[in-house]
């Protein structure tokens, strides 16, 4: 690894003056040697021998001296903070491997995906770079991760490229660019994506960068060409009513691209077994460019309560060729279970008239009451609700239901406010917590709000410099979350960051994926502790999990399709969760979306930290030398002066 480095730099060259102690060691040895006394019967004969003359002749150090001398020099060198300066540029290659990169396009006469095109572009680009450059390959979906080892040469990078695989989730490209750019490691960042760069003016300054900070240069290689795509953007189950109206499944179909296209949507019921090949129903309709059409399938009355349906969309008719760049987004699954029973009570000063957009969340039934009305609700009435959401108010005592407090008053029984902030920036977050999954935390608007005094049973999820703005935890078996920033009204795609955060919090409070009729690939499902779970994936493979009481496990749903979760030993499924790849931004393949990034990003760390520090090796050497030093102790006892 050190072969990638050239010159050695010292952080504190002045410390080398401590090497002046080396002669002291020699002197100590000389002194020790000259002070080796031995009493003899008489010096009558010995005094006739020649006396010592020169230092060189006298100084015959033992092996132990060299060990100690080496240890001293290593210690001094380590204290001087040596580091190896890297040779050549260090380049991070960030590969967009999101769902849209699977879009097929015609290149010449060969059909290939954007992902393959991206790989070829990287190969071409690296051929023009210096042979000394070192590459590290990263993938942006489902979240930023390294592919292969760091500091690869070109051949290593090409091998790592072969390992890279495209994902069926959305990317985290902008966040990944910032994260890599601010890291002190790379000189250049190459982004290979199907998005076009929209260069922001000015630098992205690191939060705590000392000046002058080093800049990471950004380059973007845009691959892929515009390709029309028909896709499923949503699937929802509409339960039947008491009047005998049968339930329906609504499928929203959109077309990315110009014109209008005819399509056929087919419904396949799926029990616990494999999907049927013959559709139970099929509907034909048309979708216009940029707009969607929704088709409905009426379910038969005998449809099982926990039945899963698969919907497949195919373009047909004249002009259908070449309008389906992505096939992964043509299929979706929906479960008739789960969403019907989830209901939330919104307690807001605004009262019953306004659910603050929460009613727009599919399968979430929201009742709104004023704070005064809430006080009058009986325990039995509260039992009807799966969730309690308090907006700008708080209950007098901690409820026995999962509860979300949004900007609560300072005095509340769950998350007391530690203060207010007017200008904040997300500083840290619990990256492994389900609440932060699929969230671009850098983009969380933390302009104002309150920071919490996080109780011992809870965890700070998102922090600004002033404190925690989102906290969550479980107390006596009930989950509670608090948001110090405004989440409402829920505006869906208009405020994607807040909407994802809101959905994540509601999902987590509800205990998993019950909140919606389906979740997205990469989402997590919570498995409660104290039970043994069997999870059957869409491909039919089952996995067993035995969880200790009090623990829980977040199961990541990586494949699209139905996940059947049952307790081991029980035939009945506890939950059926459908997982879909509905990412409108990824399915929009007809237009090249912008990627707003700066041309350079200021790095966080000082330059010295870019180099490979050598002091740990030297410190290790010192320890080893000191450990072996007793082995070199002279076997002969030194005779002290009597």
């Amino acid at each position: 690894m050190l072969g990638a480095f050239s010159a050695i730099e010292l952080a504190s060259p002045a410390v080398l003056l401590a090497a002046a102690f080396a002669p002291l060691l020699i002197f100590a040895y000389l002194r020790r040697q000259s002070r080796r006394w031995q009493t003899v019967s008489s010096v009558l004969i010995l005094e006739r021998l020649p006396l010592r003359r020169t230092l060189r002749r006298r100084f015959k150090p033992p092996l132990r001296f060299f060990v100690e001398f080496a240890a001293l020099l290593a210690l001094v060198l380590a204290a001087a903070g040596p580091s190896c300066k890297r040779q050549g540029e260090r380049v991070a290659v960030l590969l967009d491997n999101s769902l849209s990169m699977r879009a097929k396009s015609i290149e010449g006469e060969v059909e290939s995906s954007r992902f393959e095109e991206a790989k070829r572009a990287v190969k071409k680009w690296t051929a023009l770079q210096s042979g000394r450059s070192k590459y590290s390959l990263f993938a942006a979906a489902p979240k930023l991760r390294a592919v292969g080892q760091e500091d690869l040469d070109r051949s290593g990078l090409l091998a790592a490229l072969d390992q890279a695989e495209s994902s069926i989730t959305a990317d985290t490209l902008e966040g990944a660019v910032k994260e890599l750019g601010r890291s002190h490691i790379f000189d250049k960042l190459l982004v290979v994506t199907d998005k076009r760069p929209e260069w922001l003016s000015g630098n992205e300054s690191a939060a705590s960068s000392p000046s002058p900070a080093k800049q990471t240069k950004l380059e973007v290689l845009t691959v892929g060409s515009s390709a029309a795509n028909i896709y499923l953007s949503d699937l929802r189950f509409i339960p039947g009513d008491a009047a005998g109206q049968p339930g329906k499944i609504g499928a929203a179909v959109k077309l990315s691209g110009p014109g209008e296209i005819a399509f056929r949507a087919a419904l396949y019921p799926q029990g616990s077994g494999a999907a049927l090949h013959q559709p139970a129903a099929s509907v034909s309709s048309r979708a216009a460019g940029g707009k969607g059409g929704e088709v409905f399938f009426t379910l038969p009355h005998q449809a099982a309560r926990h039945e899963v349906f698969k919907v497949d969309v195919v373009a047909e008719g004249a002009g259908s060729a070449g309008v389906d760049a992505l096939t992964e987004d043509n299929v979706g699954w929906v479960s008739t279970a789960g969403a019907r029973t989830l209901s939330a009570l919104l307690v807001s000063p605004r009262g019953v008239a306004d659910t603050l957009g929460l009613s727009d969340i599919p399968a979430l039934q929201v009742d709104a009451v004023s704070a005064e009305s809430y006080a009058g609700l009986s325990a039995a009435q509260l039992e009807q609700y799966s969730l309690l959401i308090f907006h700008e108010c708080a209950p007098a005592a901690a409820p026995r239901r999962p509860t979300l407090l949004i900007i609560p008053p300072a005095e509340n029984p769950l998350f007391s406010a530690a203060g207010e902030f007017s200008s904040g920036k997300v500083a840290s977050w619990a990256s492994a917590h389900p609440i932060t999954s699929y969230l671009r935390l850098e983009l969380v608007p933390a302009a104002q709000g309150v920071v919490f005094d996080v109780p011992p049973w809870a965890q700070a999820i998102i922090n600004v410099e002033q404190g925690a703005i989102v906290a969550a935890g479980e107390s006596e078996g009930v989950r509670f979350a608090g948001s110090g920033i405004e989440l409402l009204p829920f505006e869906g795609a208009r405020t994607p960051v807040l909407s994802i955060l809101t959905l994540n919090i509601l999902n987590w409070l509800a205990g998993g994926a019950e909140l919606a009729s389906g979740i997205l690939t990469g989402s997590t499902v919570r498995l409660e502790g104290g039970k043994s779970w069997s999870v059957t994936k869409p491909d039919g493979v089952s996995e067993a999990y035995s969880l200790a009481p009090g623990s829980s496990f977040s199961y990541v749903c990586e494949q699209p399709g139905p996940y059947r979760i049952a307790q081991q030993g029980e035939k009945a499924e506890a939950r059926v969760i459908t997982v879909n790849s509905f990412f409108p931004a990824e399915s929009t393949t007809a237009e090249v979306l912008p990627l707003a990034i700066p041309r350079t990003i200021e790095q966080e760390a000082v330059e010295a930290e870019q180099n490979q520090p050598l002091w740990p090796y030297l410190a290790g050497l010192v320890i080893v030398l000191l450990l072996v030093e007793p082995l070199f102790l002279s076997g002969k006892a030194e005779v002290s002066r009597s």
């Binding site: 040697q33 000259s34 002070r35 080796r36 006394w37 031995q38 009493t39 003899v40 019967s41 008489s42 010096v43 009558l44 004969i45 010995l46 005094e47 006739r48 021998l49 020649p50 006396l51 010592r52 003359r53 002749r57 006298r58 002969k636 030194e638 005779v639 002066r641």
Partner: protein
């Protein structure tokens, strides 16, 4: 020390006698030919009869031939005054672990025992420390052993004056065993030996050196300190210096040997690593000290 003196060794010692080249006057009857003429078994000379002589000693054969009265004189056999000078200076305790003093003390006791079993009078003198009473008879050995047992090599002295002091109480000449490492300047040794000679003692020098002294120890420290004078000497030990040491030591040994030869002093150099019985039973008879 007592381990060396096994019953077998005692029996072997009882077979030995101290040999002197000349006759000494003794204090009482003993086993050694004395300078005094009188009653004895060994014929010494004739003397003209004088009134008062014992008729039994008139040699009538001579009277018949010469018509004069002569009486036979016999050499009287008397005891031998044996003086054992044991160097108990600090130098005898070094090099540490060399058992130099222990061997010297054992030698002194063995010689003392030989003399005592022969009916001689023995005095042990720990140079620099004390002088024991005169012992006679083999039964005195236990007293002598007890006296010497507690002795430690300690003390610094001028050799001549100490020998003078030790010999001050000795009125009768005899045999003197001088056991030491003789690591003194040669003139000082010669003066001391000359003094002993002037006191008409027949001297036997037993020089005990440690193996480390006979051949310089390679692991010797760089600074050596004289155990007696405290003088420090810084050394640069290498092969040539070891050779020079050997030459210097040989010169010193030769100096004493030469003096002893010239002065008819019996001389034996032994290493402290040697076995006591080998020295006493083989080497001392070889040089004629014992028979």
């Amino acid at each position: 020390m007592q381990d060396s003196f096994s019953p077998t060794f005692f029996r072997q010692l009882q077979q030995l006698k101290i040999r002197t080249r000349r006759a000494f006057l003794g204090s009482r009857q003993g086993m050694h030919r004395s300078a005094r003429k009188g009653h004895g078994l060994e014929f010494a000379d004739y003397r003209q009869y004088t009134p008062g002589d014992d008729f039994r000693y008139i040699d009538f054969g001579v009277y018949a031939r010469t018509d004069r009265l002569y009486v036979r004189e016999f050499r009287e056999e008397q005891d031998l005054n044996v003086m054992v000078l044991l160097d108990a200076s600090t130098s005898m305790g070094y090099p540490e672990g060399s058992n130099k003093f222990e061997l010297a003390r054992a030698l002194a006791l063995a010689l003392g025992y030989v003399a005592l079993t022969d009916g001689d009078t023995v005095t042990f003198c720990l140079l620099g420390q004390r002088t024991t009473p005169r012992y006679t008879g083999p039964q005195s050995l236990s007293k002598a052993m007890k006296e010497l047992h507690g002795a430690r090599p300690e003390g610094v002295f001028a050799l001549l004056s100490e020998v003078r002091a030790a010999m001050a109480s000795q009125r009768i000449p005899g045999k003197c065993f001088f056991v030491s490492d003789f690591l003194y300047p040669l003139p000082e040794q010669f003066d001391a030996l000359d003094y002993l000679r002037s006191r008409n003692f027949e001297i036997c020098v037993l020089r005990v050196l440690a193996p480390q002294e006979l051949q310089l120890d390679a692991g010797l420290a760089d600074v050596v300190v004289d155990a007696e004078t405290g003088q420090e000497v810084e050394l640069a030990l290498d092969r040539s210096s070891r050779e020079q040491y050997a030459l210097a030591l040989a010169e010193h040994i030769e100096g004493l040997e030469h003096y002893c030869r010239r002065a008819e002093i019996e001389y034996l150099l032994v290493s402290s690593a040697e076995a006591l019985n080998d020295i006493v039973l083989r080497k001392l008879p070889q040089i004629g000290v014992l028979r």
